[in-house]
């Protein structure tokens, strides 16, 4: 018994690869050489089968073009991947980490960046960075008010849109007051995911944006603001609508897919999502009835960008860089924006593309329930990530335990 055990222990100790120089994206050919033959572990939220299928398709392309294999580590929550990196560092595993790439944004990104847990800066040195439209999409440079500084490569733009059943809702409520009145008139037909789920917390931030006098205070850390006074109207709003929520607010759906399922089952009439193309894609797949449409608030809805980041101790950094670059490829970006595939909004600027690549985007149909760029209205800035944490904690204390 001793020998196998010893071998096992040795393997565990030596499992961490010897320290190699980190790849440099400015020397792209060397990166491609290093990457060939690597298997990249991409940790990505896996709650939507369409996203999983897209990741599989990207993996096929990655292997065909660059000889890099992709392994999708399916996460129920992005924080799981962050936790893994944090745990690895606390156990002293500074090389050969298990996470190569994380699909990330918001407080997860900020906490990793601030904690020195990210490899970078790399994004602005990627060959395909030249296609990214940083003027039209300022969120790719500043995530939740925090400068990205190349520690994450953007890959999709998101906007909160409300999804409603036009067969049941004649005139969708386009202001917070209208929503409040609609909920009162239609008890049991609206709800939001249970914070600290990200979509549920986003709903709280959306309401806060609508009730605060000057949204500029939300751009600074919550500790610096008069938190009680600023959030009082938010809690007032929630207290008012809760008795008329789905299940009288005694239970909440767990997350975005669960909320979408309630809409699909006809248990609610208005839901919401961060992907403006989700409803159209779900209708195309027969998961939502074709009477579902989307709308936004007249005053705008939250908008943000999603990133690919590489942990400081990733085992396959070169392969991770190749993936981050590939996903900015116009062909892949056009595939992601196709409502039949994902309906994600691209981060690229069409005027920066070659004519044949621009044609790929122009050929895409919007989808039956998707709003055109001119109908999406204003994108509201995400508050500083400290608001996420504080609002979610407060929600749990106020609504998290049945009385």
């Amino acid at each position: 018994m001793t020998r196998p055990l010893l071998t096992l222990a040795l393997a565990a100790v030596l499992g961490a690869a010897p320290a190699l120089a980190d790849p440099d994206p400015r020397n792209w050919d060397a990166v491609l050489d290093d990457a060939r033959g690597q298997t990249v572990f991409w940790n990505a939220w896996a709650g939507d089968p369409r996203i999983n299928a897209f990741i599989d398709a990207v993996g096929d392309e990655l292997e065909a073009r660059h000889g890099v294999r992709l392994n999708h580590v399916r996460l129920a929550d992005t924080a799981d991947a962050v936790t893994r990196v944090v745990a690895e560092r606390s156990a002293g595993r500074d090389q050969g980490g298990a996470v190569d790439v994380i699909w990330i944004n918001g407080d997860n990104f900020v906490s990793m960046k601030d904690g020195g847990l990210l490899f970078g800066a790399f994004a602005e040195d990627l060959p395909n960075w030249r296609f990214v439209d940083t003027e039209a999409n300022p969120a790719v440079l500043s995530d939740f008010t925090v400068p990205v500084e190349g520690f994450g490569a953007p890959w999709a733009m998101f906007r909160m849109v409300f999804e409603y059943d036009s067969a049941a809702v004649a005139a969708p409520p386009r202001t917070l007051d209208a929503l409040r009145d609609w909920i009162a008139a239609n008890p049991g037909r609206f709800t939001y995911p249970q914070p600290p789920d990200f979509l549920g917390t986003s709903f709280l931030k959306q309401v806060l944006h609508m009730t605060v006098d000057d949204p500029a205070v939300l751009m600074a850390p919550a500790e610096d603001a008069d938190y009680e006074a600023i959030t009082a109207p938010l809690w007032e709003f929630l207290d008012e609508i809760t008795p008329n929520l789905w299940r009288q607010g005694r239970a909440f759906p767990a997350n975005e897919p669960a909320l979408g399922q309630l809409l699909a089952d006809g248990e609610i009439d208005i839901g919401f999502a961060f992907n403006p193309g989700r409803a159209s894609a779900a209708i195309a797949d027969g998961e939502l009835p074709d009477t579902i449409r989307t709308f936004v608030f007249d005053a705008g809805t939250l908008g943000n960008s999603s990133f690919l980041s590489i942990p400081y101790n990733a085992a396959n950094k070169a392969g991770a860089l190749v993936l981050a670059n590939l996903i900015l490829d116009p062909e892949i970006q056009a595939m992601a924006q196709d409502p039949q595939v994902l309906g994600f909004n691209t981060v690229l600027g069409l005027d920066l593309l070659e004519p044949e690549d621009r044609a790929r985007f122009e050929a895409l149909e919007l989808g039956i329930a998707t709003l055109g760029p001119d109908e999406l209205g204003a994108a509201l800035d995400e508050p500083h990530p400290s608001w996420d944490t504080r609002l979610a904690e407060d929600w749990v204390a106020r609504f998290g335990v049945a009385d």
């Binding site: 709650g47 399916r74 129920a76 745990a87 239970a251 897919p257 248990e267 049945a402």
Partner: protein
């Protein structure tokens, strides 16, 4: 005789090794929970003992409700499961229905808890099959009613989900016990004295049987109080059960919450021990009351008229709930648009099966690898331990049996977080090896429970004959005993494999998310509520152990086609 004795050597250390492999991880894991619970976790900079984790645990607003939920669902699920089991055995024993129930046991046992819970959820949700079947013609519901059924604050759905899986387990244990207490003779005497079937059984057989199934009942209680996967699927969320919250804290980015999780784990252990003590006290109280009742001599013949239909109804209801639930899972996995209150999907689609095929196949491979490794190790250890007992001519040791039950009595959520932290420190977390060893801790007890009785019931005269023909103990084991016990070995292996497939928490925690099995993937999808996707994964989760079970039943006849006794 000198030769056989000498060659007995190799199995001698096996029982000790088995105990070490069972108790070692449990003890290490408990230590790994106890120390951090008092603030000692050097990897996170905790070097001084403090009560801080406990203070933070106490500050969690959901604590009181979560503790109450744990105790109520545990006691409720155990009492109801036990009552149903005893009712079925007392009222139906010897009937055709009973033979049917017995035959349904094996597939029901091989069904993972999570799959059964998913099926039940699809059935009883306000938009589920039951509501669809009676809508809109009987209820007027054109849309799903706004009723809080899944995740109800009292945990009733959770209790129901546990009961449908615990009744088959307790039934199997009771059936095994009946043979050991000469139940048939007791009943003959009771019936000849004019006792009704149910009353006679309860008065003469139950006291002896209960002593035999006490440990399984305790295992059910400990499991029901601390289960995570079923609670994630059917349990409440405001707040969740204590066990679910502990796992949540384990996964948080803020690592200091792991200390709070450790305090929670210790609290969960204390709760289980306290509730077990409570149950034990209730047993004694009931036994005292029962003595007077039994001595009273009431024949209770009228009871049978009520008990039989009741037992049939309850058994039928539980069976139908599981079967319909699974059928619902399978149907959702191929459904296109399926709106309320349609009883049947408007269109069908293989899209989810195609889309998931790559992930599903990967997960099947990992699940099968871990399951086969853990089962093979468990079989080798159990055979070694039983053979050692046989060669030493020892009688089954109560202490050994109790130790085998240890991993089933200590809540998983109390010792697995600590074990995970240890695995992380030695760098074994996220490896198949770590997951396999953790699975072994739970697979071994079930393999032992399945194999011990047939092993001991083997006619030892076969060994005597083989010895007289010149075979040593090794040859007797390999050439006579194991082949003769093929059927028992195959079924024990199938039960072990099914146990491994069903493991959620050990896979999740020790696999660090990198070892993905059918169960971890299916439960990860639970929160999303995408029925088609859940359907695909739950159907696979149910099929894999079932296929192994069918194979196990067919194996004896395949290996020994000419032997009549090996035919199923």
């Amino acid at each position: 005789m000198a030769r056989p004795l000498r060659s007995a050597g190799w199995v001698r250390p096996v029982p000790a090794l088995t105990v070490l492999l069972l108790a070692g991880p449990v003890a290490a894991g408990l230590a790994g929970a106890l120390l951090p619970a008092f603030g000692w976790m050097p990897a996170l900079g905790g070097n001084a003992l403090s009560l801080d984790p406990w203070r933070r645990l106490a500050e969690w607003p959901g604590l009181v409700a979560a503790v109450r939920l744990s105790v109520v669902t545990g006691l409720g699920a155990t009492a109801i499961s036990l009552a149903i089991t005893l009712l079925i055995v007392a009222a139906l024993q010897g009937t055709r229905a009973f033979a049917l129930v017995t035959r349904a046991l094996a597939p029901l046992l091989s069904l993972p808890h999570a799959a059964a819970a998913f099926g039940l959820a699809f059935l009883i949700a306000p938009s589920g099959w039951v509501a669809r079947a009676v809508s809109p013609w009987a209820t007027g519901w054109e849309r799903p009613p706004d009723l809080l059924i899944l995740g109800d604050p009292a945990g009733l759905s959770l209790i129901a989900g546990l009961v449908v899986k615990e009744v088959p387990f307790l039934l199997l244990m009771t059936l095994a016990a009946l043979g050991q207490v000469s139940a048939a003779q007791r009943m003959t005497v009771a019936r000849s004295l004019g006792y009704g079937r149910v009353t006679g059984w309860v008065k003469t057989v139950l006291p002896a049987v209960y002593a035999q199934i006490r440990l399984p009942v305790y295992a059910v209680l400990a499991y029901s109080m601390s289960v995570v996967d079923v609670a994630l699927i059917l349990g409440p969320t405001r707040p969740p059960t204590l066990a679910v919250q502990i796992v949540d804290w384990m996964g948080q980015r803020d690592l200091s919450l792991r200390l709070v999780a450790a305090a929670g784990a210790v609290l969960q252990l204390a709760l289980v021990l306290g509730t077990l003590a409570l149950w034990h006290g209730a047993e004694r109280g009931l036994a005292r009351l029962g003595q007077g009742w039994a001595a009273g001599g009431g024949r209770g013949r009228g009871v049978d008229k009520v008990a039989r239909p009741l037992a049939l109804g309850v058994a039928g209801l539980a069976g139908a709930a599981v079967l319909l639930g699974l059928a619902g899972l399978a149907l959702w996995s191929v459904a296109g648009l399926w709106r309320f209150p349609d009883l049947w999907p408007a269109s069908f689609s293989a899209r989810h099966w195609q889309g998931q095929s790559r992930g599903v196949l990967d997960a099947v491979r990992t699940t099968a690898l871990v399951g086969v490794l853990a089962t093979a190790l468990a079989l080798a250890l159990v055979i070694g331990a039983l053979e050692a007992e046989f060669r030493a001519r020892a009688r089954p040791s109560r202490r050994f049996t109790a130790l085998v039950y240890l991993p089933l009595l200590v809540p998983q959520v109390a010792f697995l977080p600590g074990l995970t932290t240890l695995a992380l420190i030695v760098g074994l977390d996220g490896q198949v090896v770590a997951v396999t060893v953790a699975h072994l801790v739970f697979v071994l007890p079930y393999v032992y429970l399945a194999l011990a009785d047939p092993w001991r019931a083997w006619d030892t005269r076969c060994a005597t004959i083989a010895h007289s023909l010149g075979a040593g103990p090794g040859r007797v084991l390999w050439a006579v005993r194991l082949p003769m016990l093929t059927r028992a070995l195959a079924i024990a292996a199938a039960i072990g494999f099914a146990t491994s497939v069903a493991q959620y928490l050990p896979t999740l925690l020790l696999g660090a998310g990198r070892v993905e099995t059918l169960t971890t993937e299916a439960v990860a999808l639970a929160a999303g509520g995408n029925r088609r996707l859940i359907g695909v994964w739950a159907v696979m989760q149910m099929l894999l152990p079932l296929v192994v079970f069918v194979g196990a039943l067919a194996l004896p006849a395949l290996l020994f086609p000419r032997l009549k006794g090996m035919r199923a």
